[in-house]
């Protein structure tokens, strides 16, 4: 989870300078387009544009590799599912195991789509501070009638930034509880179910008391969910509108 926060790479590239809203909208549209891509040449085009953008961002390859790594098992699973379960022309046959050429094509296409999705998303997180992403989402949500379901865009934004802030804290709590129990002779490998229950109960208690203290601190600093301002001002510049027009054009083109 640390990587979620550390994935921001400070810089002054054109991508860093774009408004978070522009990048969020662009990412959404790009994701839809990538998911609808059915042919390899088109996918290649997206891959090429990713390479170009990654180069422009000045973010090292390592960041992107690290964003893919946790998903490798998932990707392999998806690929193998398609390879073995798609009907068609078999490549070879050993009993019921029967990979097909069609499966190979479908598997590659779908895996490549997912990889591209992750890569474009990590391009956003690598060039945008988490606060700015949160701010961007808040501003995009502000126009929606969330009040009707009892929420405000500010509540959602605060929840997001608190999650980013407190996930490492909670992980740390979990680690301390585990150490405390190892110190008192609990063998973690011995009985996984017992370990789970003895860890989860104090974890929940700890989290609730953390949440309670946090809520008190926030309340005493005048937190009210319905309206707040921000240290960081968001400003759409000409480049932002340019990018949005470009993305819009691309979306229209892909339907023609």
């Amino acid at each position: 989870m640390d990587e979620l926060i550390l994935s921001y790479v400070p810089g002054t590239s054109p991508l860093h300078k774009l408004d978070p809203r522009t990048k969020l909208v662009a990412l959404m549209v790009t994701s839809i387009l990538v998911l609808q891509t059915a042919t390899f040449p088109k996918l290649g085009l997206f891959a090429a544009s990713f390479v170009l953008l990654a180069y422009l961002s000045g973010v090292g390859t390592g960041v992107f590799v690290r964003s893919i790594r946790p998903m490798l098992v998932f990707f392999t699973f998806i690929f193998l599912m398609h390879l073995f379960l798609t009907e068609g022309d078999p490549i070879f046959r050993i009993g019921v195991i029967r990979p097909t050429f069609e499966g190979l094509m479908a598997g590659t296409l779908i895996t490549a789509r997912f990889v591209l999705l992750i890569l474009f998303a990590s391009l956003l997180t690598a060039t945008t501070r988490s606060t700015m992403i949160t701010n961007g989402i808040e501003r995009l949500l502000r126009s929606l009638p969330l009040k009707r379901i009892g929420l405000s865009s500010f509540d959602i934004a605060t929840m997001m930034s608190l999650s980013i802030r407190f996930v490492p804290v909670l992980l740390d709590n979990a680690r301390q509880i585990r150490y405390a129990q190892i110190a008192r002779g609990l063998d973690i490998r011995h009985n996984i179910f017992r370990t789970a229950s003895t860890t989860i109960t104090p974890m929940i208690r700890e989290s609730v008391s953390t949440a309670d203290e946090l809520a008190t601190a926030m309340e005493s600093r005048c937190y009210q969910g319905d309206f707040r301002t921000s240290l960081f001002e968001l400003k759409m510049r000409a480049a932002d509108w340019g990018v949005l027009c470009g993305i819009g054009g691309l979306a229209v083109l892909s339907y023609v």
Binding site: I5, S130, T131, S161, L162, I164, R165, P168, V169, T210, E213, L214, T216, A217, M218, E219, S220, R221, C222, Y223, Q224, F227, R228, T229, S230, L231, F232, E233
Partner: protein, 289 residues
């Protein structure tokens, strides 16, 4: 300017935490609130910014009654509160975002927030760390960050609830220095603690609580004359000397004062003037540390 009138508070589970507390705090005063765990000091200070409201009695904070719901935001802006645990009151993903949290809630414009954040961080000496993530900060730095977060709301009064209890000695010293500076700049300080020694040199007034009641209120010297156990080592030494017949005051807690008293009792007070004595005292002090 805080007036507490006959305040009682009963928790929803029926425990009586405060029992008829009467007290006034003047503007610019430094009040230390001491007492055992569960004596009601935290419950009392939580009334000062309307986190809790009285079951009986009333509190007026700079003219505002805390029972009046519409004034709650003004009260919380006037009386800032810093808590014990550095981790659970740090809400931002970076230091400057955390300090900005209060002003953001007050819906100030971004340029004003920026000004206040930088000014507050400079006051607590953390300006250079402003883009640091919380895990890059020490406990003491996080507590000073919490103080900056409160300062950014420009309160009249700052309540500090056992803010040094989770810190190492060096961080504790830094936090106390910061608090002393705030007091000197004119802020009203209400400081809750269990460590009597850290607060005696700073406080104008000591308020000691027991079982939800105030049992003592007065200057640090008067407090030492009143209290029997849990006193600073220096005071203890002076008491023993006095019991042995030395003519010394037993309500002192600073090394320099104790040194002067002992020298005087020894009959050297008339020959050596006070300034020289203090030089000697300083030397004793550094030799100790």
């Amino acid at each position: 300017m805080i007036h507490i009138n006959n305040l009682s508070y009963r928790y929803p589970d029926g425990t009586l935490a405060l029992d008829g507390v009467d007290m006034s705090i003047e503007k610019g005063e430094f009040v230390a609130l001491i007492g055992k765990n569960g004596c009601g000091k935290t419950t009392l200070v939580r009334h000062l910014n309307a986190l809790l409201t009285p079951t009986e009695g009333s509190i007026s904070v700079f003219g505002m009654d805390t029972k009046n719901k519409s004034g709650v935001w003004n009260i919380r802006q006037t009386v800032g509160m810093v808590f014990q645990n550095p981790q659970t009151q740090f809400v931002g993903t970076t230091l400057e975002e955390d300090v900005a949290f209060g002003p953001e809630n007050l819906t100030l414009p971004p340029n004003e927030i920026r000004k206040r954040v930088d000014r507050s961080l400079r006051k607590v000496g953390l300006l250079e760390y402003k883009t640091h993530a919380p895990k890059a900060l020490s406990g003491g730095q996080m507590q000073r960050a919490a103080i900056a977060g409160v300062l950014a709301m420009e309160p009249e009064c700052i309540v500090l609830d056992e803010v040094t209890s989770m810190l190492d000695p060096e961080s504790r010293g830094n936090v106390l220095d910061t608090i002393q500076q705030l007091h000197q700049s004119g802020k009203t300080i209400i400081y809750v603690t269990q460590r009597i020694e850290e607060i005696l040199p700073l406080a104008d007034r000591i308020v000691s609580m027991n079982n939800g009641k105030i049992e003592f209120m007065g200057t640090p010297h008067k407090y030492l004359a009143y209290v029997e156990s849990d006193i600073p080592a220096i005071t203890n030494l002076m008491r023993k000397l006095k019991a042995k017949g030395f003519d010394v005051r037993d309500d002192v807690f600073a090394v320099d004062d104790a040194f002067l008293e002992i020298m005087k009792a020894w009959g050297m007070g008339k020959e050596v003037d006070g300034v020289d004595m203090l030089d000697g005292a300083d030397k004793v002090n550094t030799d100790d540390g």
